[in-house]
């Protein structure tokens, strides 16, 4: 693998031992995956933030980096933590968990990583341009950046994204290269998808079949940013999909239109949609509703505000979002209306990485295909998967 003089120096420790360690990891990955050289990245995004996800071993690993003076070279945003950093006491988080979580956050801060604590960096100001090379790790954000924006990133592991941020480099392989961005499967969508959860159900279905290849969707007539965010998140959870194309909707689709007929075909019908909903649900009676996976956008919060205005919820209803969206919701008066209905806004965190298993709720209702896939395993909860309106209905 070709390294520039500067990169050779980094590897030898001329810029410190941490950078040398990071270069070594990136070089090894580059060798495994046949990279010809390193490429400069313009931004990074680090996953592996919740104490629940990384535990003491992860915390010690990060502290080791920070104590050796590691600093990021490019703007780097952070994934959600295991709790609302300002308001954790109200959500049943234990003191020892909070203490460890804050230690992790401070360690990231020490390295110069922006404490955004969100899985939607593209909604908060970390917005790459078309064709730009980046190293992101949150799987749903990777999918969004590659597919909807047309930026270029592999699915980085938490530590490899961190190494990329610290060196400002990533090995040139995988989705950084044109050849690997070609679709492998043609997905014919023969049903009108209406809600974000319909897109989540489609994503769950496709991820299981396509695994880590690239799907090319035809037949999706209408969509928007929130729906694509839901689709990509579900596909990255049930499979390992980092890039997809949607005819007439995503920027690289046109390029592959003429060759799409030669791909292996998969149909997604009304029956498959129904089946996916059933497969993701194992109960019809949620006692806790969670929405905002990936983090709710301001439009989703606005929709909820309209639906819940002057209503009283009988069940717990938690909305996960970034601190940034919450600030806008406060300003617009949405937070007040939502809180009057009994709903709660949780920032900086998500239902999957918070210690939900330590609560007494039995069944969690969600409109997220990703959350529905992860909640049974990671939070040991039963799941009801449905669209937002059905969740509201069940909570009133």
């Amino acid at each position: 693998m070709y390294l520039t003089n500067e990169e050779e120096g980094m590897l030898k420790g001329e810029q410190g031992q941490v950078i040398a360690k990071c270069m070594k990891l990136l070089l090894r990955l580059g060798e495994i995956y046949g990279a010809d050289r390193m490429i400069k990245i313009s931004s990074s995004q680090a996953a592996g933030v919740s104490y629940k996800s990384i535990g003491d071993p992860g915390l010690e690993f990060l502290k080791g980096f920070a104590n050796e003076g590691a600093k990021v070279k490019v703007p780097t945003f952070l994934n959600p933590a295991g709790m609302d950093l300002e308001n954790w006491k109200n959500f049943g988080i234990f003191d020892n968990f909070a203490e460890k979580q804050l230690e992790i956050i401070n360690t990231f801060k020490k390295m110069g990583i922006i404490i955004t604590c969100s899985c939607t960096p593209y909604l908060l100001g970390n917005l790459p341009r078309f064709g730009e090379h980046i190293a992101w790790s949150e799987s749903s954000a990777v999918s969004f950046a590659n597919s909807v924006i047309g930026a270029r990133t592999n699915r980085e592991g938490g530590p490899s994204a961190l190494a990329a941020a610290i060196t400002g480099r990533t090995p040139n392989y995988g989705f950084h290269i044109d050849e690997n961005r070609k679709p492998n499967f043609l997905i014919k969508v023969n049903v009108d998808l209406k809600t974000n959860s319909d897109f989540g159900a489609l994503g769950f279905f496709v991820g299981k079949i396509v695994k880590n290849k690239v799907p090319f969707f035809v037949g999706i007539k209408e969509t928007d940013t929130d729906k694509l965010k839901s689709l990509g998140a579900a596909m990255a959870a049930s499979g390992g999909i980092a890039l997809y194309h949607v005819l007439n909707k995503t920027p690289e689709a046109e390029k592959y239109k003429s060759t799409s007929d030669n791909l292996e075909k998969i149909e997604f019908s009304e029956k498959d949609l129904k089946k996916s909903y059933e497969e993701l649900s194992d109960s019809q009676n949620p006692d806790l509703i969670v929405v905002g996976c990936p983090h709710a956008s301001i439009s989703e919060i606005e929709y909820l505000t309209k639906k819940l205005k002057n209503k009283k919820l009988k069940k717990e209803f938690w909305i996960y979002t970034s601190r940034t969206m919450k600030m806008w919701a406060d300003r617009m008066g949405y937070t007040k209306i939502l809180e009057c209905s009994g709903a709660k806004i949780i920032c900086d965190s998500c239902m999957v990485v918070s210690p939900l298993e330590e609560t007494n709720f039995e069944c969690v209702g969600t409109n997220s295909g990703k959350a529905a896939k992860y909640l049974p395993g990671f939070c040991k909860k039963k799941v009801f998967f449905g669209n937002l309106d059905s969740l509201i209905e069940k909570a009133l």
Binding site: I32, N154, G157, P159, S160, N212, S238, G239
Partner: protein, 132 residues
């Protein structure tokens, strides 16, 4: 002894009983990092412990936090002895390199036909070999 050539992902030699999963596996949320027991609903190996085993699965899937989970399994002393994949993706590669778990991929023969659960084998990540 039979030797199958493969690509070395992470250095070192690991020996143990084979445990085979025929579908992609994501470490995050699907294995308990304190016990090494698989907890993914509907996984054919649900309830099975991967500690000290040679864990054979085709490829990775799911969350990118998987690297940290692999690292934590090792630190918690419940990691597999070695990993064999058809194709190791970045998440698993990063995890096994940091944790120092021997790992190979792209074996030159059909390991899903040759290997059986419980076979005791050796994985050499440095040389890129599976020794049966």
């Amino acid at each position: 002894m039979k030797t199958i050539k493969a690509r070395g992902i992470s250095e070192g030699i690991g020996k143990g009983k084979v445990i085979i999963l025929k579908e992609p596996f994501g470490f995050y949320g699907n294995v308990d990092q304190k016990t090494g027991i698989i907890i993914e609903r509907g996984n054919p190996l649900e309830g099975v412990c991967i500690k000290d085993k040679v864990f054979v699965f085709p490829s990775g899937k799911g969350s990118t936090v998987g690297s940290y989970v692999i690292y934590a399994l090792k630190k918690n002393l419940v990691a597999p002895a070695a990993i064999i994949n058809l194709e190791t993706e970045t998440i698993v590669a990063t995890g096994v390199i940091l944790a120092g778990i021997p790992c190979v991929d792209k074996p030159e023969e059909d390991i899903f036909k040759i290997l059986k659960n419980g076979d005791v084998i050796e994985v050499d990540g440095t040389k890129g070999e599976i020794r049966i």
